[in-house]
């Protein structure tokens, strides 16, 4: 089976040692849980090892060779990430430990800020019903602590944002609008422009959760028009423990720090301190150095293949997967039913066979999918289902893996006596 637009997955898969693994008596691993985390190429593993074997030191303070090398590698990773998202300045890239921390950081900056940014009891915060819990709970906390009102966009039956009421949802009182660019549960790619335009009209800060976008498509923070963009390294071939918050320079300058500690200060006396300029102002304590270096290597790897080529590959695989999945009796896709404006995560239900049981029987065949509410429980409530099974693809996914999934699902139905 070949489809137009596919990458040379035979070559790519050789770079990922884990994809050679055999499970349960020799079944090849079919890894379809990429929306949860991606696998890592040898190049990233080598960058981590060589960092620890040759350059390990703390950053930004030593005068010795290793400290200088470690600092250069860490700051070099910042340059790579800045270029990857087309940031106007490297100082706009803040390293965090994951997307959740990035989003919590923004929520806390806005909670402690002075006017005009301050979120207070008269303010409204706008999110959507398809957010990951990481882009819901920080805003709930902020609303509870400040007395602000939390509002959200609902969803249409086919898994898209319902923006029909946009003027009523985003109002003059709205201080911040935070939404997901690509949904991790529905796969929906959201219409950024319409939301950003309305938010800018009312002077609201725009935060974009790009956790499922950065790994899969060209991410250009300037073209997005947002004020903050969050994403996480481990879903884009990087290690765990490293995330990114991109923020517009003026905002990073104006907004207060959240965590205090070493690295983020200029001078400290017992009564007060002054802070380092951004991005260091937001990076208290020893940062995840090796992890940042690993993320830099992941960005190099992605650039080597090309984000346009990766997006085209995933689009082809997603279109094929949607078509083949709909052949399975009783299978209902939760989310857009075509590959149009859709990422490579496909959630579905299979008759009344519970996703947990679907996942278990697939696992027996070496097929790794995710089951549950995917940290987006409001979406399950919206569609009246307890959970979904989710298959999610990446640059190394093949049509043969889609076929294995479909065959596996037929087996699941036979196993539970549904066909």
């Amino acid at each position: 089976m070949t489809l137009p637009g596919l990458l040379d997955t035979d070559a790519i898969r050789k770079d990922f040692p884990i994809l050679q693994r055999l499970l349960h008596d020799g079944q090849p691993l079919v890894y379809l849980d990429n929306a949860a985390t991606s696998q890592k190429p040898q190049q990233v593993l080598d960058a981590l090892t060589s960092y620890y074997e040759r350059h390990n030191a703390n950053v930004h303070r030593g005068v010795h060779v290793l400290a200088e090398e470690a600092t250069a590698l860490y700051e070099g990773a910042r340059d790579k990430v800045a270029a990857f998202v087309n940031a106007p300045s490297r100082d706009e890239v803040v390293f965090t430990k994951n997307a959740s921390e990035s989003l919590n950081l923004v929520a806390n900056m806005l909670g402690w800020a002075d006017e005009p940014y301050r979120v207070d009891r008269d303010a409204e915060i706008v999110i959507t019903e398809m957010e990951h819990h990481s882009n819901i709970v920080p805003w709930q906390l902020l609303a509870q602590r400040t007395g602000a009102t939390l509002k959200w966009f609902g969803l249409t039956d086919d898994g898209r944002l319902d923006l029909s009421d946009i003027e009523r949802v985003i109002t003059e009182k709205t201080k911040v609008v935070s939404f997901v660019l690509v949904s991790n549960i529905l796969g929906t790619v959201n219409p950024v422009e319409a939301i950003v335009r309305r938010a800018q009209d009312v002077g609201a800060i725009v935060v974009v959760d790009a956790s499922q976008a950065a790994p899969h498509m060209v991410l250009d923070v300037q073209a997005l028009g947002a004020d903050f963009v969050a994403f996480t390294g481990h879903k884009m071939l990087g290690p765990t423990g490293i995330g990114v918050l991109w923020g517009r320079h003026e905002l990073l300058e104006d907004l207060p720090p959240f965590l205090g500690g070493g690295e983020m200060i200029e001078t400290v006396s017992m009564s007060s301190s002054t802070y380092a300029p951004a991005p260091h102002k937001f990076e208290a304590g020893t940062p995840p150095i090796a992890q940042a270096v690993g993320l830099g290597a992941a960005v190099d790897y992605l650039n080597g293949i090309g984000m346009d080529a990766i997006a085209a590959h995933e689009h082809a695989i997603t279109a094929y997967a949607v078509e083949r999945l709909l052949e399975v009796p009783d299978l209902r896709i939760i989310g857009p039913g075509t590959a149009q404006d859709r990422g490579a995560a496909i959630s579905f239900t299979l008759g009344d066979i519970h996703p947990h049981d679907v996942g278990q029987v697939l696992d027996e065949q070496g097929i790794a999918v995710r089951v549950g509410h995917h940290c987006a429980r409001p979406v399950c409530l919206r569609y009246g289902i307890p959970a979904t099974t989710r298959a999610s693809f990446y640059l190394y996914s093949t049509p043969a893996e889609v076929d294995a999934l479909v065959e596996g699902l037929h087996h699941v139905r036979r196993f539970f006596g549904a066909g």
Partner: protein, 147 residues
Amino acid sequence: MKLDSMYQEIILDHYRNPHGKGLRDGDAEVHHVNPTCGDEITLRVRLDGPVVADVSYESQGCSISQASASVLNDLLVGKSVGDAQQVQEAFLELMQSKGQGEGDEEVLEDAVAFAGVSKYPARVKCALLSWMAWKDATAQALAQRPE
């Protein structure tokens, strides 16, 4: 195949035809969820003197959690509270045995079929959901009793 050790025929039978499902009168009601997978149960216990007179429930979840609630209903209704607690403890022990335990068939009857589930850490919580709910509801029902 390894799967058959988890999905024993008895388990699948209980899953397809759950015993005692539906909410009826009770002395105490609890609602428990398994946050990792979204399985939920609302369970009521009715005591009649020293006896577990009824365990009724409404639940949503995978075959393991559904079958487990059905087996619980079979096993515990009609027993004295003390005996039922012993069965509950034996079941808990079996589920925590990491695939090592077989379970005492005298005590656990059909519930020994869940021995295979104990090998799968992600599924142990599914099997225990209704049993933990029962324990909680029973404690509440006992606590409400006039001395």
